[in-house]
């Protein structure tokens, strides 16, 4: 019963701030705030950049997770610590680091500017970079964990049956780690969506180009706190909807160990045979 009480306190901890927010919501102004051009642009920018950041995190993060889980190379623990470092760092610190490395006068940024004319700060690309920096660790961690739990004998069996490495990865490994991959992608996406500290430090704040929803909300707090309330509600609603919707559909389909083995072996055989 103690567990129930403690759990209830935990739920209250999360729910009460939201209740407080709804209590103070200026309902009569909701439409006016949401339909303003600035909010539309901020929302569109936030959604686009965060999805892009999640996608980039997957493209580069899955191979990294694979290396960390399956390949024993020297310095592996250092690489793992490095890849998850930004998860532990305050976002602003990440932003400062990005600024001094990729800013116009940064160690690498100055060459990006001189040779390619690429300026990351003050650009939408900079926003995506900041978001990938903070979000990718979530994906790497989740996928690595899923890969570790996967019985590599399934993949070995598929290989001996004649499947190529890429084929096996695509038809055996990926489907098996799907819950972990989706969970990681969703976490990475939501972290990217809510990213503030690194974005404001590195990419700046300009409506339409670099002003994401969190930034717009922060500034609204300065001049129009009621608008900030409405924007907060919007962000919460969007995040909540996605997290709620995806969880059941994708993560709830994790199979039990016994049936997993049987089904996987069948799946492996049939996948390779076709």
């Amino acid at each position: 019963m103690l567990a129930v009480v403690l759990a209830a306190v935990a739920v209250a901890f999360f729910a009460l701030p939201l209740v407080g927010l709804l209590w103070r919501m200026p309902w009569s102004r909701v439409w006016e705030v949401l339909s303003s051009r600035a909010v539309g642009r901020a929302l569109q920018l936030s959604v686009t950049t965060s999805l892009l950041a999640a996608a980039i995190s997957m493209v580069f993060g899955v191979p990294l997770a694979w290396m960390l889980a399956r390949v024993g190379f020297p310095g592996r623990s250092v690489v793992r610590a490095l890849s998850t470092l930004s998860m532990v760092l305050p976002a602003v610190v990440g932003g400062v680091a990005l600024f001094f490395s990729f800013g116009r006068r940064g160690l690498f940024g100055q060459y990006l500017d001189e040779w390619f004319g690429i300026r990351l700060p003050f650009s939408t690309a900079g926003v995506v970079v900041a978001q990938v920096f903070v979000a990718m660790p979530f994906l790497v961690l989740s996928v690595e964990s899923a890969l570790r739990q996967l019985d590599s004998r399934l993949e070995d069996a598929a290989r001996t049956l004649g499947g190529s490495r890429w084929y096996v990865f695509r038809r055996v490994t990926l489907p098996a780690i799907r819950p972990g991959l989706v969970a990681g992608a969703v976490l990475a996406w939501s972290r990217a969506l809510g990213e503030f500290g690194a974005t404001v430090t590195f990419a700046g704040n300009l409506p339409g180009r670099t002003q994401t929803m969190p930034l717009a909300t922060y500034l609204a707090l300065e001049s129009d706190p009621e608008a900030a309330l409405v924007l907060s509600l919007l962000l919460i609603a969007v995040s909540f909807a996605v997290l709620l919707g995806l969880r059941d559909r994708w993560l709830g389909q994790a199979r039990t160990p016994a049936s997993k083995d049987a089904a996987s072996v069948d799946g492996t055989a049939s996948a390779v045979a076709t």
């Binding site: 600024f99 800013g103 116009r104 006068r105 700060p121 003050f122 404001v200 700046g204 704040n205 300009l206 409506p207 670099t210 002003q211 922060y218 500034l219 609204a220 707090l221 300065e222 001049s223 129009d224 706190p225």
Partner: protein
Amino acid sequence: MRRAPSVLLLGAAALAAMATSCSGDSGGGDRVTLEVFAASSLTDAMWEIGEAYRETHPNTTLRFNFAGSASLVAQVNEGAPADVLVPADLQSAERLDAGIVGTSEVLTTNTLTIIVERGNPQSIDSLDDLARPGLAVVLAAPDVPIGKYAQEVLDKAGVVVSPSSLEASAKAVVTKVVLGEADAGIVYTTDVIAAGDTAVGVVIPEQQNVQATYAVVVPREAEHPDEAATFIAFLRGPQAQAILNKFGFGR
């Protein structure tokens, strides 16, 4: 089980430490903690004024809270304890829900200046130069007073600027310029002086410039209105005003 006592001791010590640090007013004597909420641009000047005040008023501890003026007003409206409020404009005090004690007084003024990197590599001489294509100009967001003032100045001069970013504070603008990320910005004269050698100020002529007026008020729900009044008298007195002048205010 053996570890429990030491953990409890540690916890008790931590709680005791927190309790003593929180009890600003209790304890012997007439010690009073005055909460002063001031605009960020006043940071350095206020610290020095605080030191001077402590010499003549040892029983008063000044606790400063620096933030954007609108933030400060919002905090007070949400119940944050402020004995003295010093916003960077005259309108902010009117947005206090509970009102003020007495009337609003003018504390000092500030003007705006263009800030550029040390050495002025882009050879910026006037507001017109800010409209030069390819220049990375950073302003403060119009949500904060300095951002509004900067826009007023640009409108007065008839210059149209496409900023690269609208920062959340004047200090952030200074940082971006000093670190070379932006070519120029518009900030308070006091910010340029505070930046010292790391930046160069380009004067904005008086006819294009705007004067920011700092008000000083006592919010209605101040806990120590009398001590607040004493501090405000000090702020408007010669010693504090000299300090403010030193930092670039009231010129």
